[in-house]
C-alpha cells in the first residue's frame, strides 16, 4: 500500500497542499482558494482534490494564519486580566515611548482586551529574589472568582509580578480558577512566557488568552470535519519556531501559532540549504502583500523572542526570526505628500488585486510594473489560470508618470527598484544588524513573487548566489512535511560565572529536559528524543541576553561539565564580538535562563532526483532592463529545462506558481533536485 504525508498551508488568499508519496518519494502540490469564513471547506476540499485515500495518510501537518489574523484583526475573545494589585494598568501604560518622532496624530496602541474594567488586581507579592512577601490568601482568591463570575469572560490571562522566579501564586490562582470554571480557557504567564519584564510577559499571556477560544474551536472543527470524512489519526500544527505540535496540545498554548504560516518556509529553507551544503543562507518569501525574510546560519535556523503583533504589543514567544516588510506583488505605487514615489506598504491584496488582474484594481502595483517590463507572461500567470491584461494598466501608469516627470518604462523600473530596495533593507536588518555580512550568504527566494526579484535583491546586497527551490509557490506547505515534533522548555534563574558550580547547571538541564521528554511522549512520540540545549547569557550588568548553544550538559561528570561551561563562555565572548564589535573577556558572565528543546524526529520527504527532463521549450519575448533597455529575452519552462546545463541571463524561467528572472550578468543551472542555482558571472 502506498502511504502519503500531507502538508496543508492555509494562507489568507490560497490554501496550498503538498503530497509526499512515501514509497516513491514523489512530491506533488496543488492550490485552492482559501475560505476564511469556513476554514474547513478549503482544508477538506484540498484533501479531496489531492485524491489520497484518507486511510493512506500517515501524517498530516497543518500551517495556518488563523492565529495571526485573529491577533492582527483583533477578532479574539473577551479576556479577563488578573494581575498583582497595583498593576492593573500594565497593559495600558506599556513602555511609554512613541513609535514615531514628530507625529502628533499617532495613537498609542490599545491592549487586546476590550476594557480597563476587565483588569483584576489580587493582593499578593513576590519580590525580586523570588520570595513571597505578601501571601495570596483564600479570601482574595474568592474575590477574584466572584469578579470572574460576574464578568462573562470568554478567557482569562494571569500574570503576577516575578512569577518567572516563583510560580506558587500563579499556580494556586490558576488551580482554583480551573476548578471553579472548568470550561474557561486560562493562560498563565509562567507557562506561556517565563521571562522578566512584566509588560512583555503580560502582553504575551493576554495574546494567548485572546485567541485561545478561537483556536480551540478551530482545532475541534477541523478534527470533527476530518473525523466525518473518515480520518481519525492524530495530526499536527506547525508552531512559530518550526516545531510540530500535536493539534490538541497546540490548542492549549495557541500563541505559539502566531507565526505558523511562514514557519514552514523557513524549515524547508533549512533542509534545502543542507541538501546543497550551504551553511549560511538568507531567505525571502515574497507573496501578494508582504515579504518575509529569514536566515539559516551555520546550517541552523535563527530564532528570536521579539515578535510584535503590532508596534508596542509584544508576544514574546520563541519563533523563527522572520522580518516582514510590506513589499509583495500587490504593493501599491503612490506619490506621497512630499512628492515622493512610494511602493507599499499598502497592498491591493488578492481582491481587487493589481490592475492587470482585471478585477477592478485601480492602483499600479508591483505586479503591474513587472508585467509592463515584460517580466511576467500575461498568458501563463498561475500556470495560465489567471489571464493578465496589460492594456488596463496604461492609463494609470501614464497618470503617475506624468506627475513624476518620467517615462512609463522608467516609472515601472523605479517601482521595481524601490520594492527591491525595500526587500534588500529588510535583509540588511536581519543580517547586518545581527553582525552578519550578507556577501557571505546565498539568497534563497520563494513564494509566488520571490523568484522574480531574487537576483536583483542579491545584486543590491552583493550576494553572489541565488537559490530557487522546487515548488517555490507552495514551499511553505512543503516545509510542513520537513518539521519535527518539538517541545521547548525554559527555566529562568540567574547564575554568575564566578559563583556557579557546574553541577548546578547540570541539575537545571536534567529537570527541564525530563519535563520536555514527558510532554513529547504525551503528544504521541514513541522514539528516543534528541535534545538541544542553550543558555541565555550576558555580561553581568547588561540587560539583554544572547543565546549560546551548548552541548549536552546532562548527568555528566563534573570535569566535563566544567569544560563545557567554559567553552560556552568562550562562545559567548566570540558571539559578542561578532555582533557588537567588542567583548569583555575578563567580565563576569551572567546566565539568565536555560533552554531545552526535546525533538521527536520524523521521516521527511527527500527531494527526488530528476531522470526525465523532457524536451526544452523555448520562447522569446521583449523584456525591459535598466542597463540594456528593451531586449529580446529567452523564456523557458522549468519542467522542460535540461539538468546541469548552464544558461546565461537575461533569461526567464516559468512554472505554474512562479516566474524566475535571471538578470543579465548571471548564469543559472537546474540541478538534479530541481533546484535552480543562479550565480554571478565571473
Amino acid at each position: 500500500m502506498t502511504n502519503y504525508r500531507i502538508g496543508i498551508d492555509t494562507g489568507g488568499t490560497f490554501t496550498d497542499l503538498v503530497r509526499f508519496n512515501m514509497s516513491t518519494g514523489e512530491i506533488s502540490s496543488l492550490k485552492v482558494p482559501s475560505t476564511p469564513s469556513k476554514p474547513l471547506q478549503a482544508f477538506v476540499g484540498a484533501l479531496k482534490q489531492s485524491e489520497v485515500p484518507l486511510n493512506n495518510i500517515e501524517g498530516l501537518v497543518h500551517g495556518t494564519t488563523v492565529a495571526t489574523n485573529a491577533l492582527i484583526q483583533r477578532t479574539g475573545a473577551k479576556v479577563g486580566f488578573i494581575c498583582t494589585a497595583g498593576y492593573e494598568d500594565t497593559a495600558y501604560i506599556q513602555r511609554v515611548n512613541r513609535q514615531f518622532l514628530y507625529d502628533l496624530t499617532w495613537d498609542k496602541p490599545t491592549p487586546l482586551f476590550q476594557s480597563r474594567r476587565n483588569c483584576i488586581g489580587v493582593n499578593e507579592r513576590v519580590n525580586a529574589k523570588g520570595e513571597i512577601v505578601t501571601k495570596l490568601e483564600d479570601a482574595d482568591i474568592d474575590r477574584v472568582i466572584d469578579h470572574v463570575d460576574a464578568g462573562n469572560y470568554e478567557s482569562l490571562a494571569i500574570c503576577l509580578l516575578f512569577s518567572y522566579l516563583n510560580t506558587t501564586h500563579e499556580k494556586l490562582l490558576a488551580n482554583r480558577l480551573r476548578e471553579r470554571f472548568p470550561n474557561l480557557p486560562i493562560s498563565v504567564s509562567h507557562e506561556i512566557a517565563p521571562i522578566w519584564r512584566e509588560y512583555e510577559r503580560s502582553s504575551t499571556t493576554i495574546a494567548d488568552a485572546f485567541i485561545k477560544p478561537l483556536i480551540q474551536n478551530y482545532v475541534s472543527s477541523l478534527k470533527s470535519g476530518l473525523a466525518d470524512a473518515g480520518f481519525i489519526h492524530p495530526w499536527s500544527l506547525m508552531k512559530s519556531n518550526g516545531g510540530l505540535m500535536n493539534a490538541d496540545a497546540a490548542a492549549l498554548q495557541p500563541i505559539h501559532l502566531a507565526m505558523s504560516g511562514p514557519a514552514g518556509g523557513a524549515v524547508a529553507s533549512q533542509r534545502v540549504s543542507a541538501l546543497l551544503g550551504l551553511n549560511n543562507v538568507v531567505t525571502i518569501d515574497v507573496g501578494g502583500t508582504s515579504a518575509d525574510v529569514g536566515m539559516v546560519l551555520d546550517g541552523q535556523i535563527s530564532y528570536t523572542t521579539e515578535y510584535e503583533i503590532e508596534w508596542g504589543i509584544p508576544a514574546a514567544i520563541p519563533l523563527i526570526d522572520i522580518k516582514t516588510v510590506g513589499a509583495g506583488g500587490g504593493s501599491i505605487a503612490s506619490v506621497n505628500s512630499g512628492g515622493f514615489l512610494q511602493v507599499g506598504p499598502r497592498s491591493a491584496g488578492a481582491v481587487p488585486g493589481p490592475i492587470c488582474y482585471g478585477q477592478g484594481g485601480t492602483n499600479i502595483t508591483l505586479t503591474d510594473a513587472n508585467l509592463t517590463l515584460g517580466r511576467l507572461n500575461p498568458d501563463y500567470f498561475l500556470g495560465g489560470k489567471l489571464q493578465l491584461d496589460r492594456s488596463l494598466i496604461d492609463a494609470e501608469l501614464g497618470r503617475l508618470s506624468k506627475i513624476l516627470g518620467m517615462k512609463d518604462l522608467e516609472l515601472a523600473l523605479a517601482v521595481v527598484e524601490i520594492a527591491n530596495e525595500n526587500m534588500a533593507n529588510a535583509i540588511r536588518m536581519v543580517s547586518i544588524e545581527r553582525g552578519h555580512d550578507p556577501r557571505n550568504f546565498a539568497l534563497l527566494a520563494f513564494g509566488g513573487a520571490g523568484p522574480l526579484h531574487g537576483s536583483a535583491i542579491a545584486r543590491k546586497l552583493g550576494i553572489p548566489k541565488v537559490i530557487i527551490p522546487p515548488y517555490p509557490g507552495g514551499f511553505c506547505a512543503l516545509g510542513l512535511l520537513m518539521g519535527d515534533l518539538r517541545v521547548d522548555k525554559v527555566w529562568t534563574q540567574s547564575f554568575r560565572s564566578d559563583r556557579v558550580t557546574p553541577s548546578e547547571v547540570v541539575e537545571r538541564f536534567d529537570v527541564i529536559a525530563d519535563a520536555a521528554a514527558i510532554e513529547l511522549r504525551q503528544q504521541g512520540f514513541e522514539g528516543e528524543p534528541t535534545y538541544e540545549y542553550s543558555i541565555n547569557m550576558r555580561y553581568l550588568g547588561q540587560n539583554y541576553e544572547m543565546e549560546v548553544v551548548v552541548p549536552s550538559l546532562r548527568s555528566t561528570n563534573n570535569e566535563s561539565a566544567k569544560e563545557q561551561i567554559e567553552s560556552a563562555y568562550e562562545a559567548f565572548n566570540r558571539k559578542h564580538i561578532a555582533m557588537y564589535e567588542y567583548s569583555m573577556n575578563e567580565a563576569v558572565i551572567e546566565m539568565i535562563s536555560f533552554k531545552v528543546a526535546a525533538i521527536g524526529l520524523i521521516q521527511h520527504p527527500k527531494l527526488a532526483t530528476l531522470t526525465d527532463t523532457g524536451t526544452q521549450i523555448t520562447q522569446t519575448r521583449s523584456v525591459h532592463f535598466e542597463m540594456l533597455g528593451t531586449v529580446p529575452c529567452t523564456v523557458i519552462r522549468r519542467k522542460s529545462m535540461p539538468v546541469n546545463v548552464s544558461f546565461e541571463g537575461p533569461l526567464i524561467i516559468e512554472e505554474d506558481g512562479s516566474t524566475t528572472l535571471v538578470e543579465p550578468g548571471m548564469k543559472v543551472i537546474r540541478n538534479p533536485y530541481d533546484i535552480l542555482i543562479l550565480e554571478v558571472l565571473k
Binding site: R95, Q99, Y102
Partner: protein, 595 residues
C-alpha cells in the same frame, strides 16, 4: 521606501539612488542604536533607550538620524559642530574616539555624553559618526546627576571638554581613569561607554561599505542633495503657515534654589519660508538648575516645528536651516557660565515646545494640541546595595499625558516630547535597586477636561528597602497647570510626596525635610520603609468640555478615565450607575453648546 520625484537641475544624483542612500543611512542609525541597547549596562540605556545616534558629513552637517531622543538630536548638531570647530582640522586618525559632555560647548547637560569618530576613505575624512547618551552617573553632587538645588555647573558632575577616549584604537587610560575616579558607578560607566564605542564602529563599517559601493563622489553628491531636498521641503511647509507674529508665555514655578517663578516668553515670527522664535523678554537666568543653554533652547524649537510640519521630510541639516532662534544671553533660555542647568534639558525643553505650540494654536488650528503633562518627573536615587555594598545610582522618570488634540483625545502616559525613552520595567527596576514599587497605575481625572480630553498621568508608590537611600528630584508643573487650549481645562498637576515609615499621611518634601522647593531638591536621605509617591501630570484639554458628547463621557466613566464627580463638575453631565453596572448620563440642562 520613497524616492524623490521631480528631477530638478540642482540635484546631481538620480531619485532612486537618493532614496536608497537615505534609507540606508537611517537604517545605519537604527543599527547603531540596537547595538547600544543590547550591550549597555545601565537601565537608562538598555531599557529606557536614552540615547541618540546621528551621522554627519565631513563638515559636521547632519545627514541622518533615526527615532531617538529629539532633544539630543537637536543638541548633538551643536555639540558636533563645536567639537569639530574647537579641535580643528587634521587632528583625527582612524580609530580615534573623542568624548565630550560640556553644556557650555553645546551638550544638553552634563549627564549626556557625546562620542565622535571620523570615518576615513582612502586616507581622507569622509564623514563623522556620533552618538549621545545619558549616563546614569556623571559624578555630580547628587547620585544620578540631577541635583535639583545645584547653584553652579560644578555641582552637576564631571565636565569633559573634547578629549580623546581612544587613539588609533588604543584606549587612553589616563582619561578613563579620571572618569572612573569621579563616577560613583565606574563599572556601569565602563559598560555604557564601551557600548557607545561599539555602536560607532558599527556605523563606521556601514558607512565605509556604502561609500565603497557607490563611490565617494556619488555618496557626497547624494548627501548634499538630501540636505537640499530637506531644506526645500521644510521651506515649502513653512510657507503654508500664515505669515504673522504669534505670542505665548508660560511660567516655570521655581528653580530649586529660589522660590520664585520664571517667565518663558516667545514671539514666533513666520515670514514666508522661514520661522524665527524670539525669546526676548524671558526671565533672567535662574539661580537653580532650570536654565537652558542656547543649544537646549534651539533644540526645543526644532523639536516643536518638526512636530508641526510634514514628518516625511528627511531629517538632516537642511530641514533645520529655515528655523531660527533668538535667545538673549543671560536669560533662562540662554544661560551663561557657570550657571547650573541640568534640569533645563529635561524640563525647560518640553516647556519651550509647548509654548511654541501655544503660540501657533490659532495659526495651525488643525494640528496644535493642548499642553502635554510636560515634565520628566526626574527622580534620582543612589546608595550602597544591601549585602554587597556596591554603589548604585539611577535616574528614574515618568511619562505624562498628551494634550487633547484637534480631532481626538491625547494619548495617556507617554514620555515627554523632548525624549523618546521607555520606562524601566518594575521587574528590572527591583532586581537592580533596593526599592519596591507598590503600584504603578493610571490616574483617573488627571487628563484635562475638554471636547477632546487630555491624556492621563500616573501614580507610582515606592517603598525603600535599604537602610539608607539618597534621593533627589526635578519635577515641574507641581503648581503651574498643564494648560488647555480653545476652552479646554488644564491637566492635573505633577507631584512628589513622602510618607515616613509607620505614618498615614503623605507630605511634601518641603514639609518633611525643609527643602526650598517641593519639586526640586537633592540628597535627601530616606530610611527603610519610607515611601515616595510620584504623580505624573495629565495633558491639558482641547476645546470646551461642554461640547464633549455624552457618549464619550459615558465611555470615559466606563473605563474609569474620569469619575462621576468630574462628569458632573467638568462636563455638566450627571452620571448614574444602572443595575447592570453601566454608566448613564443625563443630558445637559440649562447649558447651551457653543456651536
Amino acid at each position: 521606501m520613497t524616492t524623490r520625484v521631480s528631477s530638478s537641475p540642482d540635484l546631481k544624483v538620480d531619485q532612486v539612488t537618493l532614496t536608497v542612500i537615505d534609507n540606508y543611512l537611517a537604517t545605519t542609525c537604527r543599527e547603531m542604536g540596537i547595538a547600544m541597547m543590547r550591550t549597555a549596562y545601565s537601565p537608562m540605556f538598555n531599557e529606557s533607550l536614552d540615547f541618540s545616534c546621528v551621522l554627519f558629513d565631513k563638515y559636521g552637517r547632519m545627514i541622518s538620524q533615526a527615532e531617538f531622543c529629539p532633544s539630543q538630536i537637536g543638541t548633538i548638531k551643536f555639540t558636533v559642530e563645536w567639537m569639530i570647530d574647537e579641535l580643528g582640522p587634521d587632528v583625527y586618525k582612524p580609530g580615534d574616539v573623542i568624548i565630550m559632555n560640556d553644556p557650555y560647548r553645546g551638550s544638553g547637560h552634563i549627564p549626556e555624553h557625546t562620542l565622535l569618530k571620523a570615518v576615513f576613505h582612502k586616507g581622507e575624512i569622509v564623514a563623522f559618526v556620533a552618538n549621545c547618551a545619558h549616563l546614569a552617573e556623571p559624578g555630580a553632587k547628587a547620585p544620578g546627576g540631577l541635583a535639583g538645588d545645584a547653584t553652579d555647573i560644578f555641582q552637576e558632575g564631571l565636565r569633559l571638554p573634547p578629549l580623546w577616549l581612544q587613539r588609533e584604537g588604543i584606549p587612553q587610560e589616563d582619561i578613563w581613569k579620571i572618569i572612573f575616579a569621579n563616577h560613583r558607578t565606574p563599572k556601569t560607566t565602563y559598560g555604557d561607554l564601551m557600548a557607545m564605542v561599539g555602536s560607532l564602529n558599527v556605523a563606521e563599517r556601514r558607512l565605509t561599505s556604502l561609500i565603497e559601493k557607490y563611490g565617494l563622489e556619488t555618496y557626497q553628491n547624494a548627501t548634499n542633495d538630501l540636505i537640499r531636498i530637506a531644506e526645500r521641503r521644510m521651506r515649502e511647509e513653512i510657507r503654508q503657515i500664515p505669515d504673522g507674529e504669534y505670542f505665548f508665555e508660560d511660567i516655570i514655578e521655581d528653580d530649586g534654589v529660589l522660590n520664585i517663578p520664571y517667565t518663558v516668553r516667545c514671539k514666533v515670527v513666520v515670514d514666508d519660508d522661514q520661522i524665527t522664535c524670539d525669546f526676548t523678554g524671558s526671565s533672567l537666568q535662574a539661580a537653580g538648575p532650570m536654565n537652558g543653554t542656547f543649544a537646549v533652547t534651539a533644540s526645543a524649537v526644532y523639536n516643536a516645528l518638526m512636530h508641526l510640519t510634514d514628518p516625511t521630510i528627511p531629517r538632516n541639516e537642511g530641514c533645520y536651516r529655515p528655523i531660527h532662534t533668538i535667545a538673549p544671553p543671560g536669560t533662562i533660555v540662554n544661560c551663561e557660565f557657570p550657571a547650573p542647568l541640568v534640569g533645563g534639558n529635561t524640563e525647560l525643553s518640553p516647556r519651550i515646545t509647548d509654548i511654541i505650540f501655544g503660540a501657533l494654536a490659532n495659526a495651525l488650528p488643525d494640528r496644535v494640541p493642548a499642553s502635554q503633562g510636560g515634565t520628566s518627573c526626574c527622580f534620582l536615587f543612589g546608595g550602597a546595595q544591601p549585602g554587597s555594598g556596591d554603589l548604585y545610582s539611577h535616574f528614574h522618570f515618568e511619562g505624562t499625558g498628551w494634550g487633547g488634540r484637534p480631532t481626538k483625545d491625547g494619548n495617556s502616559q507617554i514620555i515627554v516630547i523632548n525624549g523618546n525613552c521607555r520606562n524601566t520595567p518594575v521587574e528590572v527596576f527591583e532586581t537592580r535597586y533596593p526599592i519596591r514599587v507598590e503600584s504603578y497605575r493610571l490616574l483617573e481625572d488627571s487628563g484635562g477636561a475638554g471636547e477632546n480630553r487630555g491624556g492621563l498621568g500616573i501614580e507610582r508608590i515606592m517603598t525603600m528597602e535599604a537602610d539608607s537611600i539618597t534621593v533627589s528630584a526635578i519635577f515641574n508643573r507641581m503648581t503651574v497647570d498643564p494648560f488647555g487650549i480653545h476652552g479646554g481645562k488644564p491637566g492635573k498637576n505633577s507631584g512628589i510626596y513622602f510618607r515616613r515609615k509607620g505614618s498615614k499621611d503623605w507630605e511634601t518634601f518641603s514639609n518633611a525635610f525643609g527643602t526650598t522647593s517641593p519639586s526640586k531638591f537633592s540628597n535627601i536621605t530616606l530610611r527603610r520603609g519610607d515611601q515616595v509617591k510620584i504623580i505624573a501630570p495629565g495633558g491639558g484639554g482641547w476645546g470646551d468640555p461642554m461640547r464633549r458628547s455624552s457618549e464619550r463621557v459615558e465611555a470615559d466613566l466606563r473605563e474609569g478615565f474620569i469619575t462621576p464627580e468630574a462628569a458632573e463638575h467638568d462636563y455638566g453631565l450627571k452620571a448614574e450607575l444602572d443595575s447592570d453596572g453601566n454608566w448613564n448620563v443625563t443630558p445637559r440642562i440649562g447649558r447651551k453648546d457653543k456651536s
